[in-house]
């Protein structure tokens, strides 16, 4: 009885894929499914604040497992596509997982898992009743969906899903600065989403399709008359995703809002949201519209340099730890845009590696800021101090994170910077390479300031020189031993990718090749003869 209605006697083979689908191909949609079902279950158990974190953690663990399985399968079999409802592309909505999408989706889900663990300590009963866990899991539906979809309008839909979930997360405590930050965040993001939608409408007008593989195949056949329209679409998309990614000069929403929510929410936002924008830039400009990218390369380079330098100068000017880290997120986005500006294989690999590194390190830094707040009672560097004496182990972890975010060896930030500088130099963009190095140097100063003020000196402002240990003396615990686990997982990954970069070299090279040479991507959707 199952299957299309047999009584209708219609030949479906022209419109539908009737071949059986291997159960393994379901891994393409599994991350989104798990997040949606998990979000629904968490929503139903919203009032049960004891059971809900456990349920959410089960779903987040499943999500990590599904993403891991997906990545293994993609590396094994190449790009995997599933078209919803069995309709043939480009009519059905395609989910297409390549190395780039699967890698980022996996790293994002690991970060979400860590945020779930961290939130079990820092989000109180009220925050849970207001829906921390449902929003976190549904946010992952949006993030994974954006990384895995092969349809440009569907990408817009997942952007909306993650945006709505992030609105819920940012106002979790409902106090005045949060609402203030949420308004700035919301308005800017809605404008960006609208530009995205306008660009997508124009894409549909020009190509008559929204499937990314279809567009990538058709764009080379387009005659010159449409190149002006294409460029318009390119600029619209660039502006839209630059807003999402927090690139200069449309990044002022980020420092205005990222320090307001619960610290674990800031950690998730800093790790994931801007990187989804960077991913969309890479996906659109390298896979679909390489000619627009070539044309706009100089513009992207200027934006990248400005983003890096203004970001890191902002970080140097702040005394609030969370604001410092917020500006460092922006500086990192500049480095990834530098990769996009160069556009060579090495540069895109570097950008992908940097995105993975940035997801891990920014989340870990915000989590560390939360611990500093628990230990020192403040987010302000002037009021912090003596944390090294209070807990040397935690100080060591922070130093690792500080080295990593500055791009110093032997941690994960070093390798992508090497790749990006190398790529920029061989492309003849000396200024871009210089800006990457300069921003790395200034980042070192910015986190060095945090280190010296919060950790190294004996106590808060006014403590006499020469004080080595905080007045209370002895080791202070970091608040709750459960906080060690999420920070530990992220730090371990940062150290591992620093010491064993081959894994990420391989993944990011395959990811970059997959978008620069779209043949494999197109074939995965349309079969061997598109």
């Amino acid at each position: 009885m199952a299957g299309p209605i047999s009584s209708a006697k219609v030949d479906y083979s022209a419109a539908m894929n009737l071949a059986p689908v291997a159960a393994g191909d379901w891994l393409v949609v599994a991350p989104v499914l798990i997040s949606l079902v998990g979000g629904a279950v968490c929503l139903m158990t919203r009032k049960n604040t004891q059971a809900q974190p456990k349920l959410a953690m089960i779903f987040l663990a499943l999500l990590v497992a599904a993403n891991l399985g997906l990545l293994v399968r993609v590396l094994d079999k190449g790009v995997i596509t599933m078209v919803m409802g069995g309709w043939l592309p480009p009519f059905g909505i395609a989910f297409t997982a390549d190395a780039l999408g699967a890698t980022l989706s996996l790293v994002a889900s690991i970060v979400a898992f860590c945020a779930g663990l961290y939130g079990a300590v820092t989000v109180d009963g009220t925050g849970r009743r207001y829906g921390y866990y449902p929003f976190l899991v549904l946010l992952m539906a949006g993030v994974c969906g954006a990384f895995l979809t092969g349809d440009i309008f569907n990408l817009y839909v997942w952007f909306e899903v993650l945006l709505i979930a992030s609105f819920g997360l940012i106002i979790l405590g409902n106090d005045r600065p949060q609402l203030d930050g949420a308004v700035k965040y919301g308005v800017l993001n809605l404008i960006g989403t609208n530009l995205f939608l306008i660009g997508t409408g124009m894409i549909y007008g020009v190509f008559g399709t929204l499937n990314m593989a279809d567009i990538a195949a058709k764009i080379s056949e387009l005659d010159n008359a449409a190149s002006g329209t294409l460029l318009t679409i390119g600029v619209l998309y660039f502006l839209a995703f630059a807003m999402k990614a927090a690139a200069f000069p449309v990044n002022f929403w980020l420092p205005a809002s990222y320090h307001t929510p619960n610290i674990v929410v800031s950690a998730v936002f800093a790790g994931l949201l801007t990187k989804v924008g960077v991913y969309a830039l890479i996906r659109i400009f390298v896979l679909i519209m390489p000619e627009s990218r070539d044309y706009m390369a100089d513009l992207i380079a200027v934006v990248a340099i400005a983003t890096m330098i203004t970001g890191v100068l902002g970080a140097l000017a702040q005394t609030e730890v969370r604001r410092v880290f917020g500006y460092l997120v922006i500086a990192g986005i500049g480095s990834m845009l530098a990769g996009l500006a160069v556009g060579s294989n090495l540069a895109i690999s570097g950008a992908i590696f940097y995105a993975v590194h940035s997801i891990l390190v920014m989340t870990a830094l915000y989590m560390a800021a939360g611990v500093m707040h628990r230990m020192g009672g403040s987010y302000d560097m002037r009021e912090l101090g003596g944390l090294y004496g209070a807990n040397p182990a935690f100080a060591g972890v922070f130093l690792i994170l500080a080295f990593a975010v500055s791009g110093l060896p032997p941690f994960s930030g070093f390798w992508p910077k090497v790749m990006l500088v190398d790529a920029a130099m061989s492309d003849g963009r000396g200024w871009l390479a210089f800006a990457i190095l300069l921003s790395g140097f200034l980042t070192t100063l910015a986190v060095g300031r945090v280190w010296i003020y919060a950790f190294w000196r004996g106590g808060p402002e006014g403590t006499p020189d020469g004080t080595a240990v905080a007045a209370s003396g002895g080791t202070i615990s970091i608040g709750s031993s459960a906080l060690w686990l999420p920070i530990g997982i992220l730090t371990a990954m940062i150290v591992y990718f620093g010491l064993q970069p081959e894994v990420m070299f391989d993944l990011s090279a395959r990811g970059a090749l997959g978008v620069i040479e779209p043949l494999g991507y197109v074939r995965s959707v349309f079969g061997d003869a598109p």
């Binding site: 059986p20 291997a22 499914l33 279950v41 919203r46």
Partner: protein
């Protein structure tokens, strides 16, 4: 708004509207209607009941929090698409089970289950917003 006439008529009106919303939901596959519009009608039924008899009465009548209804809708809506995993077809491929009751063929299907999911999501989400707004007004 709590006039005697309104309070007397509101329960009947709400019941009728919920009934009508289910009718709209079920006819929606081939004719105008469906889960979204049906959900809106049901949510307005709850809103009218709330205006007439107070939000507390609505919450008592609903038994569960509207947001849980929305979660339930999302849950069955997602699972409706998963069924095709067992028939080796892609996600969300529709499955049909036509049954004949009193010589009328009724096509039960996964799109119907999905539509019911949409119905619950809309009822839950809109009703919780409406009830929150009405609650604020009454105190």
């Amino acid at each position: 708004m709590r006039t005697l006439i309104f309070r007397t008529i509101a329960p009947y009106l709400s019941a009728l509207m919920v009934l009508y919303s289910i009718f709209v939901l079920l006819r929606g596959h081939n004719e105008p209607g469906g889960g979204f519009i049906g959900g809106l009608i049901a949510a307005s039924a709850l809103a009218i009941f709330g205006i007439a008899c107070g939000v507390a009465a609505v919450r008592r009548a609903l038994k569960v929090h509207p947001m849980s209804l929305a979660g339930f809708g999302l849950f069955i809506g997602t699972l409706a698409g998963v069924y095709s995993l067992f028939t080796k077809q892609p996600f969300m491929t529709s499955q049909w089970w036509p049954v004949t009751i009193f010589d009328v063929e009724i096509k039960l299907s996964t799109p119907l289950i999905f539509d019911i999911g949409v119905y619950f999501v809309v009822v839950g989400a809109i009703a919780s917003i409406a009830l929150a707004l009405e609650e604020r007004e009454s105190d």
